[in-house]
Each structure stands twice: as C-alpha cells, then as structure tokens.
Symmetry: C2
Subunit: 284 residues, 2 copies
C-alpha cells in the first residue's frame, strides 16, 4: 500500500492511473475506521482497478463547540486495516496542504445543507462539501463510496457532483450495524458501557416506526410519536435533536408516508451525538 | 470546428483528448467576441494540442437590474471568427443543461469577491466562480485563458483553482486595446458615438496616474486625485464607482505605491458600465 501525503503527488498518481485507463474507486474517511468503512473499501475494490482511501479529520466541518480535537484518531490501526483490506493508496493530507495560506473558497449546497443535522451543526455541510470537492479534484475518482448512515451527507454530495458537473459516480452503501442494531460510527468509541447498551434504542425506535408504517399507519404525527416514545424510554438519551419522517430528496418533513420516506433521528446519548436512519414506504 | 451543446458530450470529448495525452486549452467567453477574445484563442492554440472555446451568457452572474437580457449576442459572427481562428471545439451549453431542476450548489471565494466590482455587483463573482468551476469540470482544460481587463475575475479564478485543487493552469493575458487606448469589451457595443469617444478617458486617466507614479508620486491620495480629475473632465462619465490603487493580491486599497500596485477603475459612460486597470510600480 502506497502512502501519499502531498495533494499534488496524489493528483499525479491518480491521473497516471486514469491515463492508463484504470478506474479509481475512492473512500474518503476521517479515520478511526470500523467495519462500515471496510465494507465501503470492499465495494470500491470490487468495482474498480485501483482503490484509494483518504484519512483526513477535516477541521472545516466541525463547529467551535464540537469534538474536532477529541475526535478519535488511530492512524496505526487504520493503516493496518487498510493494508489488510487490499487498499492500493492511502492518502493522508495535512491541514497545511488542504487549507494553505489565504484559503477562502467554499462550496455550498443551499437548501439541503440547512436541514436536519445542518440545523444543529451550522457550517458543517459547507465544510463537508468543500473538502469533498477538493478530495474529488485531487483523487479524480471514477466512483466514490459513502455510507447511508450519513444520508444527508451523501445526498448533498450527490447534488454537488451533479450541479458542478464532476465526473464522479457517488455510490451509497447500506449502513453496517452491530448485532443489536446500533449503526457503526467512529463516535461509538465515546460511549461508556451503559451508554453503549442504551444506544441500541436508536435502531429499535426506527424499527418500531418502520413496522408501524408497514402495518398501515402512514400519518407522520403518529409515527413520530412512536419513535420519540421509544427514545424517551431510555434515560441515557439526554437530548433528541430531530426524529421524524422526511422526503428523501428534499429532506422536508412529510405529512404522510404514502411513498418512500426517510425515518431519521439525531440525538445525544450522554454527551455523544449519534444519528441513524432507514428508508420506509411501499416496497421497503 | 466541432460544435457541442451537451455538457456530458463535451466532457467525454475532452476526456478522450486527455486519454490520448493531448493538452486542452480553454477560453470561456460570453460571446460577442472581439480581438481580445481572439488573442486568448491564439495563445491557447500556441500552447495546446486542442483548443476549446465556450460561449455561454451565464444568467447567474448578472444582478436583477443588470444587462443579462440585452447583453450582446452574435452567435453567427462568433462562430465564423472562431472557425477562422482555428478553434477545434465550440461548446455552446444552454441554461437547461447548466442549471437543471433542483440546482442549488454555489462556489464562493470570500473576501476577494466582495471588493471592487463585487461591491457594486453583489452575487456577480459567486455566479462567475460557480460557472467557471462547472466549465472547468466539463472541459477539463490543461490551461484556461482570461484577459487582464477582468483582473478581479482572473484573481478569483486563480484563487478557486488553487483552493479547490483543480488541475488547471490559469493564464492571464494582457488587455487588448483600441488605438485610443479603450480596453476591448463586448459592452463597448452599447456606446453611442459621443460616448465611444469619451470612453477613451478611462485609459488616459490610468496612463496619467501611471506616469505620476513613475515621476515619484507614490501616495495613493494624490494618484487617486489625478485619476478622478481626468475622469471627471469628461461629461459623458455619469458615475465613477471606484478608482484608486490596490494591492494586486488582496485588492485592498494601498496607502502608498511602494511596490507593484493595481490602478483600477469602474465607471459608467452614459448607461454603460466599463472597467479597466493597469499594473504600476517598480519595474513597470
């Protein structure tokens, strides 16, 4: 596995592959890798000649009161996992190269970025959109892989790729879960034992709501009540930021679940912010 | 000369050239071409294997009270000139393909975009930055050519290319002028005969200021006075928006011209908004 730290060298390496008509699969990450990331890597390997993974904890997508400095970092463990997973190139840029002196350009996906998580993390998706645009320009991937757990992020990235005519195919892969349903997330490492047990309520609440939809309850108010009641039954849940049924294209809350909808939730377990979602509706 | 209207086809065409190791020179324009544009085409041809010119009057860079609908259009004349100039591909996208349903992504170069022309044309440079990002992603040029007359635009584009890691070299070519010094501009077509004669005062005012700098007057207040006095002597000049000496990297007004500076002016001759600039300072 080749390790590259300089964007220009990464760019030349990728362009070299493209000039040789090799397809490049790309998995951008913030490290602290788990089986969800490795699943994305597996998909990238299956579908492309070359697999590139980036690890970069992007300061621009953290708010001033958020967990940038404490965000889990495990470069040694990550490097091992990626080597074992058969990754060809690990791209490890640093802040000096990513945001050099005088940096002042931002990519903004208006509308989508202010909803759901955007309401609680102002500037977050601007930071995501900007760094993903940069990474795509550096790596020139044929396909890029994201997890459905970050549904809003994937939607925003698909939108910016389309709007800015980037020649990248965005692939969204199903959320990987622990046995009790908890969606894999680097932030799960923050959870104490009791919190970790409690966190399984998130998926349970989504499943309960989903089963209610299947049973014919399609007005969002009732579905929301079912979700929130489940979440509130767990005392470790210290704050529920949002939890309802949304249009999977616009992220607006829907009134009735009469076609495909996104059940999504964001909450805090202790001090740890967690999100999850599932798609429901006819045929799901 | 190949004419392409669909972004995806333009993208595939350009990628085909790149896969064959051909360099692509790109001149993005809004049409109503003049000798300045053709000079850029000449440079592009000299330095690249393939020359692509786009004509697209980008609605997103015009304010609601600006001249989008009346902006000069001469597709037949332009096509002729470009064919004669030896252009390989003319890219003619339409609004439906450039801003399709649901478009909501914008590229913003903060700081630089609010200064000089940005103060009088809010949103203009956001529109420019966004469309240039799109065009670069569609055309994948090796080098892209811009005129120095639009100094601020070229500076913003250089900045966004660097900040977003786009693999494009931005080349800024000297301003082409009429015999009396008037900078070539598509908007010169708006000028009546009297206004056209009067408009030569713009370059005259810049030359006077530049000569004053050469003679040793380096405080901006005096230089500004010389420029503005020249401009005000012309009764067709109906409004002076700005006119002074600026730092060519930050576009902030400088106090003294003790190193390279940009003398820049924006004004209206009758109802027509015109801009011009020259670089002055040691060695100029």
């Amino acid at each position: 596995m080749e390790i590259i730290r300089i964007p220009r060298i990464m760019q030349d390496t990728s362009r070299g592959h493209i000039l040789h008509s090799r397809t490049v699969g790309f998995v951008p990450t913030m490290g602290a890798l788990h089986a969800g990331h490795i699943g994305l890597v597996r998909m990238a390997r299956e579908e492309n000649d070359i697999t590139v993974v980036s690890i970069y904890v992007n300061p621009a997508q953290f708010g001033p009161a958020e967990d940038f400095s404490s965000y889990p970092r495990d470069l040694e463990g990550d490097t091992d996992s990626l080597r074992k997973a058969g990754v060809d190139v690990l791209f490890l840029p640093d802040d000096l190269h990513m945001y050099s002196r005088g940096f002042c350009t931002h990519v903004e996906v208006s509308g989508l970025s202010e909803k759901l998580c955007g309401g609680f993390r102002p500037g977050h998706f601007r930071g995501v959109a900007t760094v993903v645009t940069k990474l795509f320009n550096i790596v020139s991937p044929t396909k890029a892989y994201f997890g459905q757990k970050d549904f809003q992020q994937a939607l925003i990235i698909k939108r910016l790729v389309k709007d800015l005519d980037m020649a990248v195919e965005v692939v969204v892969c199903p959320t990987k879960r622990e046995e009790d349903g908890l969606a894999l997330s680097s932030r799960n490492r923050y959870l104490g034992k009791e919190e970790r047990n409690a966190a399984s309520v998130i998926f349970r609440s989504l499943k309960k709501a989903s089963e209610a939809v299947k049973s014919g309850i399609i007005n969002t108010a009732s579905i929301k009540e079912i979700m929130l009641a489940a979440l509130k039954s767990e005392s470790c849940v210290s704050e529920i930021q949002y939890g309802s049924a949304y249009d999977p294209e616009t992220l607006d809350e829907v009134e009735r679940i009469d076609r495909e909808a996104l059940l999504a939730v964001a909450l805090k377990v202790g001090n740890t912010r967690l999100i999850d979602n599932i798609l429901v509706g006819p045929g799901k």
